[in-house]
């Protein structure tokens, strides 16, 4: 399967990814690819600084629409500087918590009743 490459720097036109609006543009591209089940490599080469507003809009928001499994299989993050990783972790952990799917208790039993 072909993997689409997205370079963050093409969106930010700077070494700093500090705009939620740029993050939103990246989200749109990822969303477009994910709906077609296309894999994407998101490349952070040359990006020296990110902020949560950018990461929330580009990556965090994915969790509102896709499951963790889908994101793991479709998204590959490349060349993100080591000292930016704690921030990414914070954003992803928060997104998973915010968009956690909560199913009603005893869902399996309800299914059995419906089958009858």
């Amino acid at each position: 399967m072909i993997m689409i490459e997205l370079f963050v720097k093409d969106f930010t036109e700077s070494q700093r990814a500090i705009s939620a609006a740029d993050g939103e543009k990246i989200f749109q591209k990822l969303d477009e690819a994910f709906t077609k089940s296309e894999k994407v490599a998101l490349d952070f080469s040359e990006i020296k600084l990110t902020i949560t507003a950018f990461l929330n809009a580009s990556i965090g928001k994915l969790y509102s629409k896709y499951s963790t499994e889908q994101i793991r299989s479709l998204l590959h993050i490349r060349n993100l500087a080591k000292d930016e990783l704690p921030l990414l972790k914070m954003v992803i952990d928060r997104a998973k918590l915010r968009f956690k799917k909560e199913y009603p208790e005893g869902l399996d039993k309800i299914d059995l009743v419906n089958e009858d």
Binding site: I18, A53, S64, L75, A95
Partner: protein, 300 residues
Amino acid sequence: MKLFSTPKEEILFPDSLKTDEEGFHFFSYLIKETQKKKRFILNFEHVEWVEANLCAVLGAIVATNTKTYGAKFEFVNMKNSYLETTLRNNGFLKEITGEERDTRKSSAVPYQEFSMKNEEVVEEYIFKYVLLKEEVPKMSKGAKKKIYRSIFELYQNSVLHSGADQVFVCGQFFRYKGRMALTMVEIGKTFEENVKSCYLEFEHFSGADCLNWAVKSGNTTKPETETGGLGLDLIRDFLKMNQGKLQIRSGNGYWIEKNGMTNFEECERSFCGSIVNIEFNLRDKNEYFLSEELDANSLL
């Protein structure tokens, strides 16, 4: 204090304007009082001291009330040479009075208005006037990066939540104290308006309660499909280590955190927007090393 009302209204400035509750109280009065199509004489006769970063608040009031209400402003009695030099060095007088010569001094963090859409210009400003200053390079690379990130988290907060068109920024280096203050002001939605329009269950919250809620980790007024609420918390964590200070005045709320101690209270006068002041300790010797090894894709 009003001395007379027609055809001009004179407003006497207090002898000292600092970045504190009293200073914000005066600006809350000033913004409300000058929301009229009238000529206002801002009288500095008794002013002995003004913290230069507060030009962001004064500039925001003058620009907004001129544009929105047709108010006109005149600055008089700047006899105090310290005051005049301060306001001239950071470019405030040039901006307000339209005087032509560029009087900015390289040591100042200038007064500037930014369009919310012009993020590249803000980026350039912070880089040029904050990070490249001779006081800042003494800090570790990690500390500088955290300062830069903090400022941009604040700026994006304004972009995302204020609904305003412009943000007003001004700073000041306190050389002897080894600190730098940067004040950002927008005249738009207050924290209280944002919190209450998003969560009906907080209807009983005061302005200060809303501020205290908004600065906590994970609390956000973004739509349900978006995530947020980390920026202010991140700044607070850094400022605790850096021994810095964060102050927010919005609506009737005032919130301050300094040396890890938090205080928030309800004020008598409302400020129709938000003033955020961040103060960094430039003598921070921390390296801000990473404590754990992480792999980006295992985080997903």
